[in-house]
Structure formats: structure tokens, C-alpha cells
Assembly symmetry: C2
Homo-oligomer: 658 residues x 2
């Protein structure tokens, strides 16, 4: 590298190191090892606009090795994003713009929340898929369009590549030929605990090429020219995703360079001073030489200013095109508006309607798909069982990026992370599997809810009523798991009316949502109301009965209704409440909540799931649920065993309301 | 195949198909596709003793493609295991020996519960590791021992190989050179939803060889001789695990052979009749020709009877050896006794003891490790942070199978599944990571708890007090997740006394356990008692105060104690209860429970975690917990933000007990 490059890189390195020392917490190893990679990417390749971090045609950059946050913030600061030196000084302090790991929505220039390894890599695959999809969508309107045409870059480490989710997502990226996905692999042979030799013996080139990737290799991670050339080659390869292995030295220049000691704890004061001395940087901690920063910004400006301006001009031209197609696209890009005309109020379902709820859900999903092109998704090899295929749409593939049915294979975890990547690009994606397999997706679900992005998880086969497949396939604690994740909105509709209402609310609220659907054949329930799903819960039938309340949801609502009817015949004034969404109900006014659940009424719950979910409303002993493993048997045998039959439930409720 | 082979294989096929038709539920595709593989393995290779399904030196067989249960049961029946035709007829019915997916402990010959894909493959890696470990352990006592010397076989399908956990586990199997692990890959190019081409484009041979496996290929899955030879070759290869890809036709011989239609639903009556006709089997449904069954058993008997007898003779000889080492091994093999002398009663800790709880835990773990060789484990690259290394022990590796520190790399999910495999072999394994990463392990944890096997998960960094690393690393709903899994016993000790008590209970109870350990520096708490952890919860300090109770656990207990002391000074008679394990406490007599939590006392809880966990004891409004995402900041900033400071908590409790 030349002197100018060295000075800029050293500035980034020292700033990162100072941040960590100042916070007394952080990961110096990656800062010193991977700064030249970040420099090369930002200086010579990344398409971005620091004044418009959400620019729709920016290259995406995902720091999958999220513990490298200090390196990222130092780079973003140097590149001129809206981060100032006070933000840098507040690294890892409460409510700062520079939290411990990169957080989407907190820091300009952070395209995704990362930290748990593998997640960034996998979601970046979704971003690259979204780019291909949106680009093709725009191309339908404008031949040879230049509106959406960007790369997705990932910086990852050894740990990312060990995670199973990374393999799953990489396999899909290879299958889909995501040529605009470029992964920069900071290969330093060290993880937190040990040298890599202790935990991996792989031929990484062979492994990635076996799943459809192109591989490049940079021997010296300080060789900016070699990194630059490798990225340039990767950009020219439009046919396959590229992994560039860049050999670096973790903690380079510090006393313990090349060892795991330098991975995750601040350097000693002495070590930092020595580093500063060796870099010939005569600065105080957190002080930068403005000249170096300026030089970096000049390089970036020179490369991007004119090109970016041309894009904005082009976009302004496009916006003037007054076709419906273009206007819908513009509205999507500007306001995230997906042009969906879907209101629960507009649906009328006959009282004698009767079908599997999965079928009902399928119909509604297909209506939505017909009305907006921004709705797409797929299943982890259970689409035919979850019935979530979009029947009029084609399948997503390398040659058909406009396909809106994504066949994820048996890769539940990557599916969830990719779904996040699609949502981060503005789309309204869904994914589906059996409820039990939500377990495989938990880490990706948690990041989506933390980012509060509009992903929709569809889960069928939602209780022990799965029956024959037995306890390995029968969810018990999974609804509770979903409901206990902050920001997650869980919907468990009881019939087609509530399915309609759930989708209406999901599409309007733009929040992370789980739609939990019974496998069973369910009748329309007398008194359900799709337009009330947006209230979370509501009285079904006679609202004058208010000595007691039975709350229920999903496939148990019809059982609960029969029990309530019988109780009323016996002179007990019990009302039935359908509560498809606990979270939404708890968000209503106290007044509304009390109109549904009168303060003095005794409350019972019927749901074939872990009872903890309902303890906001009543004591555990009033909740008829399931908190042990299911059993293999015919559905009726199993439901009978767990007391989910009319007679047993009636007795239980008589006991509660005695 | 010759006629005899064909007849036996057809018997197995038809029996499997009849079971599915009879149950009106199941997966015929794999039965018809993979029966020749099962035949070849059981007839010519698998070392087993149908009269002693738990024989310690049996080859292990794991059906990772657990939906092939009918094929497995039909094979086990034909091979002479303790399954009769009534069991076969009760396939997928309540409480039968033949549940929907294979269940450990329910069916003789089932070495592991499977169904969720990838899990069987991964746990089999643990079994193969255990074989190497135990074999080496016996070898220390007996040169050239023949006591433990067996293979571990897996039958898996395309779906298994797509799962990330399979990649993680396979990478470790390659690293450890598990030559006695042989995977039979039923390669039929079909998954539930689609042909494989839609979801995978991989060079599987290259992929597995890149991670240290040997690969073999059988072009025709009906060619018993070719399958036989491939298995024989794999057995000779002691240096690397082997994957044998066997090309089969899913649902072979049925109308829809080779398509996904035949994967997961019973064949039509007509289809079954046609199949029977083509096989020239003149039998009724569920009827078998005894002659064919007998022939299968004769083949097996001829191969195994003498060899097995020799082993039993040898074992009887070994048992007579009166050295302590041998006697301990025999006691382990016969009774699962790990010869651990560890009682909480025997530890005395000074009142002024003060250290990070992780350090305390490390000391106790090392004492256990010193006292029994059957205790081993590792970490997913956080051993140095969780402090779970066994300091006097060496590292497990290809050349050092006696190593008791396993470096799993960043592979939390495979780690959990491998830990199950170790436990299924009788060992008492542990694994460690941060609590937040329990999310990555959930599917494997659930199977371990369903099997009710003695695995111990150690989780550190257990609350928002993680601080600087921020919300991606701060558990909120994870304790609840663990506590809501049936059969799981969660321990959250408050100081070294309770750490000792937790380990004592864990080692005695032999149940799936999670030991959740604070990252913080914690003092000995006045009044804690390690010997009472086995009761789940107990009164700390003054038991006469009984108007109200504050329950707490882990790092919050010292805060709770300060609050209780202040409340008592203010004249409120509030007692403090430490509850390291909710599950154990709920298992105590009503009398004991009421002696700790007086029926009329108001109960409050302080725990920096999702409050649903505690709703067995009190209403949600009396629980001071955390149910939103954490924040990045200094530990004290974060705890302050969430109200976990003396003053805020005191006010909250004053409000509750007003």
C-alpha cells in the first residue's frame, strides 16, 4: 500500500482501537486485521451515499462478523456517514449511535443488525435475491433499467463459516447463481478459543466450489492492490457468488498478534501506545488527523460523486413517467408502499363455509399475491403441506428471478434469515414450515424482531392434534416461544374470517408476525369477525354474559364455543372471547380491554399449548393447556389423552366456574 | 439380488407399506426405496443382539430420516427384535411400541429419537466420538481390548444433508477422523415438495471430501452386492468417516415411484394391491410369510451368534479382573454408575468468599472431572469465556480420543446434538455457550429432553447484565424457553454454594439439565445452602417472616436480599426465598412447598428475565422481570435502565407489599 493508504488505514485502525479502550470493551483483533479490507471496499468499490444511507440503489454491506463493530463505525465515520467523533467516543454506551454490535436503524450505514454468527451471511443472500427480484421487476417496466443494480457485500470471519446456517444459505446462493453477492472472508485462522486448526480442517475452496461458488484468494491481507483486484474480478463474475478468502493476521501489530488473546478484550495501555508509536501517529486517544480523513473522503467522492448524481438524475426522469407500473414502483421505493388493496371489511364468507384452515389461508395469500408484486416467499420443503404456494406465480430460480415461490429445501434456519434479507430490501416476504420447526429458526427470528422488520412466518400443524407424527412433530412450547420474543406479533386465527383479519392486520402493521394455522378442517365459527382481529381479541356471541370469560384461539375456539353454550344452558353467564393475538390485545386501551374482559369476571383459557402464554389474564390453574410432550396416535386419541374433548373440557370449566 | 434376498426385502417392504395403510398415515417412499439398504446392513454388517438391544458393544444404528419409521420397525421385526405383529399393527397408535417417528426408550433397537432432520446424523457423530473415547478408556486398563469396538451407522436422506446442523457435525467428524462412522445416504433426488434439482445443486462428493470424509457411490440401490461391498470398504477405512451415496428410487414399484407424491402419504389401495401382485406375494395386509422372516433370521444368526457369544465370554472374563479400574468400568457398563463421589454436604465455603460465578463453576467442574472419567465436554468456541475447560485434561482430537475438552468451534447446534450422542452412550457430557446462543441449539435440546437423557448445558452471560455487547447478546426470553421445554431441569444458582448444590443434583438426578451461570462477580450470599438446591427452592435467612415472600435466583438474589433487609427494617415481615430450580421445587411435596411459600403470603419475584417463568407462583404484576429487548451500554447503565437497582427495586416491592 502507498503512504496515503497506510495513513488512512492506520487512522481507521487506531480509531477502532481507541474506541475499544475507551469503552473498556470490544474486539480489537478484527480491527487491526481487517481494516485494509474495509478501506479497499469503501475507497474503491462500495457504491453508497453517506448523505442518503437508505439510498435504494446502494450496495449493501453486511458485517456478518458483528463483533467488528468498532472497525465498522470507524470506517463509516471516516467515510463521512452521519457519525461524529462524539458518537465514536460513546461506543458501547447506553443509547449511543455506536452500540456493541451493529444495530439496524440505530447507525447510518448499518444495513443489518449482526452479532450472532452466520446470520449476516445468510440474510445477505436474501438481500442479493431481493436485488435480482426488484431489478427484474423494474425491468418489466423499463428496458435496460439502471434503477436497481447493486452488489451485496459481506465481511465474515472463520466463525461465520462454521455455522450451519451459513452453509444452508451459501448452498442456496450457489443454486440461485447470485453473482452480485461478494463475500470477503477475513481468514485469520483464529477464533475466540483457539487456533482454527483445533476446530476446522477443511478445504474451503473445494467446499464452496462444490456448492456453486467462485473462490478467490488474497495471500496478504495488507495488500490493498491484491484485495482491490480480487473484488474487481468478483464484480465481473455475474454468474456465481464469490467468496474471497483474504489471509489476515488477527490483532496485527499488537503484542499478541496472531493469537486468540487479541480477539475479544481491549489491548493494554502499553500495547496501544506501542501500536501508535509504530504507526508514527502522534495523536491522543480518539483524536484523528483530519488530513487523513479528508483524503479518504476525497477518494470516495472522486469515485462516486458523478456516478451517483447521474443515478439521481435518472431516477428523477423515471419518476416523471406516468404509467401505473412506474408509479407503483416509485411509491414502493419512496414510501415502502406495496400498493395492496386488502381490507378485511370487504370479505363476506358464508356461514356454512367449511374447509381446512390451511386451504383458507392459501386462498387469502393468493389474493394478496395477485394484488401486489412485493409479496413473495416460500417454504422449507413443506409448501405442499403448509399450502403456501402462490398458485399463479412461477418458481424463483437462477434464470427466473421474478419467481415468487422460493423453494428453500430443508433449510429452515437460512429460510428465516433470507426472509429477513428480503424484508430489509423493502419486500413483504413470508416463509412457511411446521410450527415445531420454528425451533430451527429461533436465532434468525430473534434478529428480525430486534430489527422490527415486516417478515411473516407462517406455521401450520400447530398443536398435539398433529397426532400420528408424534411428539417430535407436536409443538407444545413453540407458541409460547414466539409470544415471548419481544416485538413479535403472533396471530392464531380460528377460521377463515380471522385468517382474513390476520392478513389485513399483518399487511397494515408492517411488523414481524407469526401466523399460526391449524392443520385441521375447521368450520366457520358463529360470531367470529375478521375486522376485529386488529383488536387482538373480542367477544364472540353474547356480550351480556359477563360473570366469567373463556378465552380461546385457533382450532380450540369451536370446542370452547360448545363448552360456553353448555355452560350457558346450565345457567352460568359465561362469555366467549376469541383472542387471535395476545400482543395486539394487550396494546389496546384499558377501556377496550375491560369491555372484553370485565375486571370482576373470572377468566379461563382453552388452548392446546403451553399455558404460560396466557398468564397475563388469569392464574395458571384456570388455563387448560399442554405442558408435557405430545404423543404419537390418532388425532382423536391424542386430543382425548390431553383432555381436549367436549366432556373433559366441560368438566374442567365447570370446576373453574363452580 | 438373489431370490431369497428379494423375498426378504419384499417382505420388509410390504410390511412397511401395510403398516402405513393400516395407520392411514406414514411415509411409503423411503420404505420402498431404502429397504434393500436396510436389508444389507442388518443381514451382512450390523453387529447387534436382538435379545439384548442395549448391548454395550452393539453397532449403533440411527435412522436420521426418522420419517422412515415403518421401514425401521418392519426391519427390526424381521430381524427378531422384541416387536411382534401386534406392535406392527399398532403403528402410529397411542402408546404403541411403534410410534410415528422412532422414539428412544419406546422401541427395542431404536438408538435415538429422530424425525426433525439432521439431528440423527449429528448425534451419531457424538456416538462415534463416545465409542472412540470409551474404547480408549478401556484400553488403558486392558491392552488390545475387544470390549468396546463397534461402528455407528446412519441412514439419512437428501433432507438431512440440507440441514445446517449436518454440515456442522460432518465437519467435526472429518476433523476427528471418525473412521467408524458410516453414513448410508438414501439418495433419491426427491424431497417432500419437489425434485432435489429445485433446491440443491451441489457436488456432494466434493463437498464431503472437502471436510475430511471418504465418499463411496452405489449406482443402483437395489444392488445388494454393491451396497454390501461399499459397506465392507467403509468398515476397512478406519481413518476417515465414510458417506456412501446410494442412488435409490423413492416409492419404487408404486404408481408414483420417483416423485414427491409418494413421499409422505399412504399409497392407494389399488397401488398396494398392484405392488403385492408384482411382488408375487400372496398375503393379506400385515400378513408375513414366516419362511422369509426365518431365512432373514438364519442369515443374521449365522453371522453373529458365534461372534457375539465370544464377546460375552470375553466380557465375563474381564468382569472377573479385580482391579479398581476394571470394576469401575464394569459398574459403568452394567449400571451406568460413573463412580462419582460428590456430595454438596461435604463442601464448606468461607462466608467471605468472593469471585465470578464462572470461576466458582469452573472449580466445581474440575473437581468432578478429577473424580470420574465419564464426565467430559466442551464449548462452541466460548470455553475461555464460559470458563468450562477441564484444566487438567487434554483436548479431544483425532490422535487423542482420551481428550476430555472438546473444541466444537462455532457450532452450537451440532454441539448440542453431539452432546446427546455422548449421553446416549452412557457418558455424562456437558457443553457450554452463552445463554443467548441456546437459541441455536433448540431443536437438539428438545430431542434430548424428549429422550430424557443426562446432558448438561452450561450457559453463562445470562441476563441483560452482559451490558456492552448489547441486545444481540443479552438473553431475555431464553430462560423461559428452557424452562418451558418439558423434562428440562433448569438451575440458576446464586453463588458458589448453590453451584455446588446444582452439580450435586445434576449428577444424581441424571436428567437433562441447564446450568445457567452469571457472568458477574458475586459474593457468597448470607444464608444460601448448597444442600437445599435439591429441593429447588428454600428460605434464605429468617423463616419467621411470612407475610410476604420475595423469590429470586442467580445474580439477582443479592439485590433481593438487600431489598428484603430494608423491607424488614421498615417493619414488613417479608422473607427471602432462593429458587435455583423452579422445576425441582414444583416437584416437592405440597407440605414442603407451603413451608417455603406460605399459602396466604403475597409473593413477589425478582429476576432479570422474562416474567412468564414465575407465573406458577404469583401474578405477572408481582414479578420484576424483563420482557423487552436489552440495550448496549455499561452493565450498570443497562441494569439501571431496566430497574434492577436497589432503589428502584425497593420502590417496586414497597408498592407490591403496600
Amino acid at each position: 500500500m502507498n503512504e496515503e493508504q497506510r495513513n488512512i488505514i492506520n487512522t481507521i485502525k487506531l480509531l477502532g482501537i481507541d474506541m475499544i479502550s475507551n469503552a473498556k470493551s470490544g474486539h480489537p483483533g478484527i480491527v487491526l486485521g481487517a481494516a485494509p479490507i474495509m478501506y479497499t471496499l469503501f475507497a474503491n468499490h462500495l457504491k453508497f451515499d453517506p448523505t442518503n444511507p437508505n439510498w435504494i440503489n446502494r450496495d449493501r454491506f453486511v458485517l456478518s462478523a458483528g463483533h467488528g463493530s468498532a472497525l465498522l463505525y470507524a470506517t463509516l465515520y471516516a467515510a463521512g456517514y452521519g457519525i461524529d467523533i462524539e458518537d465514536i467516543a460513546a461506543f458501547r454506551r447506553l443509547n449511543s449511535k455506536t452500540p456493541g454490535h451493529p444495530e439496524y436503524g440505530v447507525t447510518p450505514g448499518v444495513d443489518m443488525t449482526t452479532g450472532p454468527l452466520g446470520q449476516g451471511f445468510a440474510s445477505a443472500v436474501g438481500m442479493a435475491m431481493a436485488e435480482k427480484y426488484l431489478s427484474a421487476l423494474v425491468s418489466k417496466e423499463i428496458k435496460k433499467q439502471r434503477l436497481i443494480d447493486h452488489f451485496t457485500y459481506v465481511l465474515c470471519g472463520d466463525g461465520d463459516l462454521m455455522e450451519g446456517i451459513t452453509y444452508e444459505a451459501a448452498s442456496l446462493a450457489g443454486l440461485y447463481g447470485l453473482g452480485k453477492l461478494i463475500v470477503l472472508y477475513d481468514s485469520n485462522n483464529i477464533t475466540l478459543d483457539a487456533t482454527k486448526q483445533k476446530t476446522v480442517r477443511e478445504d474451503i475452496i473445494k467446499r464452496f466450489s462444490s456448492i456453486g461458488w467462485d473462490i478467490d484468494y488474497v495471500r496478504d491481507g495488507e495488500n490493498v492492490t491484491a484485495i482491490d483486484k480480487a473484488i474487481a474480478r468478483a464484480k465481473r463474475n455475474m454468474n456465481r457468488p464469490t467468496l474471497i478468502e483474504i489471509r489476515t493476521v488477527i490483532g496485527r501489530g499488537s503484542y499478541n498478534e496472531g493469537t486468540n488473546i487479541v480477539h475479544g478484550s481491549p489491548l493494554s495501555k502499553d500495547d496501544v501506545e506501542n501500536l501508535r508509536r509504530n504507526m508514527k501517529m502522534d495523536t491522543k486517544p480518539l483524536e484523528v488527523i483530519e488530513e487523513d480523513i479528508d483524503k479518504f473522503r476525497v477518494i470516495i467522492n472522486k469515485r462516486l460523486k458523478k456516478k451517483n448524481a447521474l443515478w439521481y438524475e435518472y431516477y428523477d426522469e423515471v419518476k416523471k413517467t406516468n404509467t401505473i407500473g412506474i408509479q407503483k414502483l416509485v411509491s414502493f421505493f419512496e414510501e415502502g408502499n406495496i400498493s395492496l388493496n386488502f381490507k378485511a371489511e370487504n370479505f363476506k364468507i358464508a356461514d356454512n363455509y367449511h374447509e381446512e384452515l390451511r386451504e383458507s389461508n392459501s386462498k387469502i395469500m393468493n389474493i394478496i399475491a395477485e394484488r401486489t408484486p412485493f409479496f413473495l416467499g416460500g417454504s422449507a420443503d413443506l409448501g405442499s403441506s403448509c399450502k403456501t404456494n402462490l398458485v399463479k406465480e412461477s418458481d424463483y430460480s437462477k434464470s427466473n428471478p421474478l419467481g415468487r415461490n422460493i423453494y428453500y429445501g430443508v433449510r429452515e434456519h437460512a429460510m428465516a434469515a433470507i426472509t429477513s434479507g428480503l424484508a430489509l430490501s423493502g419486500l413483504r416476504p413470508f416463509c412457511s414450515t411446521f410450527l415445531i420447526f420454528a425451533d430451527y429458526q429461533k436465532p434468525a427470528i430473534r434478529l428480525a424482531t430486534l430489527m422490527n422488520i415486516p417478515v411473516t412466518y407462517i406455521y401450520t400443524h400447530d398443536t398435539i392434534a398433529v397426532g400420528e407424527d408424534g411428539p417430535t412433530h407436536e409443538p407444545v412450547e413453540q407458541l409460547l416461544m414466539l409470544r415471548s420474543i419481544p416485538n413479535m406479533i403472533v396471530y392464531r386465527p380460528a377460521d377463515i374470517n380471522e385468517v382474513i383479519g390476520s392478513w389485513g392486520t399483518i399487511m397494515e402493521n408492517k411488523l414481524p408476525s407469526s401466523l399460526v394455522i391449524s392443520k385441521s378442517d375447521l368450520p366457520i365459527i358463529k360470531g367470529t369477525d375478521g375486522t376485529k382481529v386488529k383488536l387482538g381479541g373480542y367477544v364472540v356471541g353474547d356480550a351480556s354474559a359477563c360473570e366469567g370469560v373463556i378465552i380461546s384461539s385457533g382450532s380450540e375456539l369451536s370446542l370452547a364455543q360448545k363448552v360456553v353454550e353448555d355452560l350457558n344452558i346450565r345457567g352460568k353467564k359465561i362469555r366467549l372471547v376469541s383472542m387471535p393475538s395476545i400482543e395486539i390485545f394487550k396494546n389496546q386501551s384499558k377501556e377496550y380491554q375491560e369491555s372484553v374482559l370485565p375486571p370482576n369476571a373470572k377468566i379461563a383459557v382453552i388452548e392446546a399449548s403451553h399455558p404460560y402464554s396466557w398468564t397475563s389474564f388469569t392464574a395458571l390453574e384456570n388455563i387448560a393447556g399442554v405442558d408435557t410432550f405430545g404423543l404419537s396416535g390418532h388425532k382423536d386419541e391424542v386430543l382425548n389423552h390431553f383432555g381436549f374433548t367436549f366432556q373433559t373440557m366441560l368438566e374442567k370449566m365447570l370446576d373453574i366456574f363452580k
